[in-house]
């Protein structure tokens, strides 16, 4: 739930990085933490196990600039990826303004990705949130690995799209991040919208800021 604080002149928004275990969610935050100027970020908090697996969440606040004299503060959270941590995973989604699904591109992780995506839809629905109506992007991580599945297959499995009912939105909408691709297009006579996607190698930082900027921009636009 975004909050505009007129007293501190800040716009606060909550972004959640979701996805299967060991997919690179925490690595995304660590890269952001390491790259942004110290004065534009707060302390990074990690509630992790002794083996550095996320137990509850990681948290990192970052300022992404000023709009109309208000600082835009984004609170980045990750969830624990392992299946059995669902109770804590669901808690983190409370009040979320934008979601990044970090998929593990490795072919053998396809099932874990699909299961996590389904779990995300389920947990969001329990709060009454609709992923097709809030800022949502998909990040295909670990693109550098030799066993990475083709983007087309990942898109087909994880981001097949949802039908667009609103007549005003039923028009071809180019994907601003991939020329020649469309976010809204007609498939077999039906209008389908997909979430924007990004390719990344979070350990080296590739694609990390593209993903963050895209979802942050979508969140701010949803307020405008």
């Amino acid at each position: 739930m975004s909050m505009i604080n007129y007293a501190s002149r800040e716009i606060n928004c909550k972004l959640v990085y979701y996805g299967p275990g060991l997919g690179g969610k925490t690595t995304n935050l660590e890269h952001v933490y390491g790259k942004v100027a110290p004065e534009t970020r707060g302390k990074m908090v990690s509630l992790a196990t002794e083996t550095e697996r996320t137990l509850f969440f990681d948290f990192l606040p970052v300022d992404l600039g000023t709009i109309r004299g208000f600082k835009t503060r984004f609170h980045l959270y990750t969830v624990p990826g392992q299946v059995y941590y669902n109770a804590s995973r669901k808690l983190i989604l409370k009040g979320v303004d934008g979601v990044v699904f970090v998929a593990d591109s490795q072919i053998e992780r396809m099932e874990a990705n699909v299961e996590s995506m389904q779990n995300l839809y389920d947990n969001m629905a329990q709060y009454g949130y609709d992923l097709t109506k809030i800022p949502f992007v998909v990040q295909y991580n670990k693109r550098d690995l030799p066993n990475a599945a083709p983007i087309k297959d990942l898109q087909g499995q994880l981001n097949p799209g949802w039908s667009v009912e609103e007549p005003a939105k039923q028009k071809p909408t180019p994907d601003p991040w991939h020329s020649g691709d469309f976010l809204v297009s007609q498939v077999d006579g039906m209008w389908i919208e997909r979430a924007p996607y990004f390719e990344s190698v979070a350990v080296s930082g590739e694609g990390v800021f593209d993903t963050l900027k895209a979802v942050a921009k979508m969140v701010l636009k949803s307020l405008s």
């Binding site: 975004s2 505009i4 007293a7 809030i134 900027k213 405008s224």
Partner: protein, 161 residues
């Protein structure tokens, strides 16, 4: 079914909240008090200068409360309306306000948990009224809205497009 929505905290509401916190501190002899929303954002604070990162503190507070809410449900309670964490020197008392926000009071040996609890009860009732009115105004669409209305170009510029 959509998203979590948005709300705003105006200058005058902020001042009313801060005044309540100051009254609480004066009468309970606690060190400082903070108000945090359920999504983990700090709304206001009063009292001694905070010696820690308030943003991280706020997110952990909300997580603490959410986790305890679930524990309450598991043992058949609808919620734990307040939590008390006792330290050797420093302690904290947390109380729910209308299931929307959380009041956190930090105190040391200069006061007692009994006194803090007693005074918090009054502040919770008073702040609940402030927040009820605030959210009532937001629900009716009255108040400050549309800060970012028509700001698309500025948003594009911010992200370098």
């Amino acid at each position: 079914m959509t998203g979590a929505g948005t709300w705003s905290l105006g200058e005058s509401d902020f001042q009313r909240i801060t005044a309540q916190l100051q009254g609480l501190l004066q009468e309970s002899n606690a060190r400082c008090a903070l108000v945090v929303d359920r999504a983990g954002q700090l709304l206001a604070s009063a009292g001694e200068q905070l010696q820690f990162d308030p943003t991280a503190f706020a997110s952990l507070t909300a997580a603490d409360f959410s986790a305890n809410d679930q524990l309450a449900k598991m043992i058949g309670e609808p919620e734990f309306a307040s939590l008390f964490h006792q330290g050797e020197k420093e302690s904290m008392y947390l109380a729910d306000i209308g299931r929307r926000v959380i009041l956190v009071v930090l105190f040391d040996q200069r006061t007692t948990v009994g006194l803090v609890r007693l005074r918090v009860k009054q502040t919770v009732a008073e702040l609940a009224a402030v927040f009820d009115e605030m959210f009532g105004r937001l629900a009716s669409g009255d108040g400050q809205r549309g800060l970012l209305e028509g700001a698309e170009d500025e948003i594009d510029k911010l992200f370098g497009e």
